[in-house]
């Protein structure tokens, strides 16, 4: 029996996500992509393929950022038991899974011409895939549990423990097989590419924030609707 106390999430109306944030985010993506495609010269080794970096690398960063949000809000839920934290973690997980899938697909499109294969069992690729599977497990758990308190507590535990595992997965796969180039950093990146990459990262970050907020708004609305239905069912008797 879920407990319906007065300090529940539904006590405050669900937030509204600003449409402008969405517009700004997508405009930023279009600007950043146009800018970086037009300004960057072809790479010495990879030619035009380097341009895939502008979407692939920021998408990977956003995936990890989303997972960090899941971890932080899962821990916060376990600590404070505030249902909103659970809903936010769930929203970040769904958006993270989208970015994770995108990262994998773009990586494959890059890998085919650069390495000659769609897929290699390399550390970065494999751990990104495992991260995706952990996201899928988290979302499946949420889908299969009906009681909202149970769902919140369990998924918070799964989110926190799953996040602890991600660095270990990465390390183990790295030992097991290593091929992917080391992390690109401003030091190893030609200045001609750095600005483009940063712009794209900022633009995609805005998209990530917009998506998570929008998804959170929907989650809050759905909770409130559930509460209405429950209150109506009880009041009707």
């Amino acid at each position: 029996m879920p407990d319906i106390s007065s300090d529940r999430s539904a006590a405050t109306p669900p937030p509204r996500t600003s449409v402008w944030l969405g517009f700004v985010a997508f405009a930023a993506v279009i600007f950043a992509q146009t800018f970086s495609i037009l300004t960057s010269p072809a790479d010495r080794d990879m030619g035009h393929l380097q341009k895939i970096m502008y979407v692939h690398v920021p998408a990977a960063w956003m995936t990890f950022l989303a997972f960090l949000v899941v971890f932080v809000y899962s821990m916060r839920y376990l600590w404070k038991q505030n249902e909103n934290d659970d809903l936010l973690a769930a929203s970040a997980a769904e958006v993270g899974a989208v970015f994770n899938g995108l990262t994998l697909m773009l990586g494959m499109i890059w890998g085919r011409p650069a390495w000659g294969v769609w897929w290699v069992w390399d550390a970065r690729l494999t751990s990104t895939l495992v991260l995706f599977l952990i996201f899928v497990g988290y979302l499946a758990l949420r889908a299969f549990v009906d009681d909202s308190v149970q769902r919140a507590k369990w998924s918070a535990a799964v989110g926190a423990i799953g996040a602890i595992n991600v660095p270990i997965v990465y390390m183990s796969v790295k030992w097991w097989r290593t091929l992917h180039q080391p992390q690109s950093s401003p030091g190893t990146l030609d200045p001609a590419y750095t600005l483009g990459l940063r712009l794209n990262a900022i633009a995609l970050l805005l998209v990530l924030i917009y998506f998570i907020r929008k998804r959170y708004e929907i989650a809050r609305l759905e909770r409130a609707i559930e509460d209405f239905a429950q209150a109506a069912a009880m009041g009707g008797k």
């Binding site: 952990i134 497990g137 499946a140 299969f144 549990v145 507590k153 595992n165």
Partner: protein, 228 residues
Amino acid sequence: MSLRDDWRRTRAIAMKDLTTEIRAKAGFNGVASLAVTILILLGLALGPDAAALRNAAVGAVWLATLFSGVLAFNRSFQVELESGALEPLLLYPGPRWPIFAGKLLGNLIFVGLMVLIVMLVGIVLFGITVPDTWPELLAVVALGVVGLVVLGTFYASMSSRSRAREVLLPLLLFPMLVPVLLAATTASKALLGADLMHEAGAWIRLLIGFDTLFLVATFLAFEHVIEA
């Protein structure tokens, strides 16, 4: 509540699980037979080439253990739920972790015995020569089983109470076990071969770290999970 009481409860739960298991036997026999069947099927699927089989043996043994282990974990909580015994356990005053520890201990013995059988069958079927480094090999297997059972028991405490538990447990558990699977198979392979790259030691340390980490984390999280 003293630690001694907690330990007594832990032991009581583990003993109870094992006694039911010994009385019935059907559960263990069923799961172990499944593991051996999977091993045989993998042997058939991988073909008759003896050299290829030897290469695949380690992976086959671990996969058979993983797939049949999942059944064991769900069982251990399902028995409790079906007989309605979980509620009284939770009503008992004091911390909840002895329930987890008890289940863990029971599953550890259950899966440990199963792995021994699977390993023996694997050695025979896949034509493995037992190397001089067998104590290290046993250590790898033991550490791998601990990792598998800790996470398996923890996730089963949730999945066994959800819809679609047969699907949910492997979906949650298998991605988490990637480090264990890699460490256990790579280290075993290295120990069975010449270990030219001297990698077994590093993998064993990784397994120790993994086991400690998740043992602590699951004990901390169990309190929240079982109450809900």
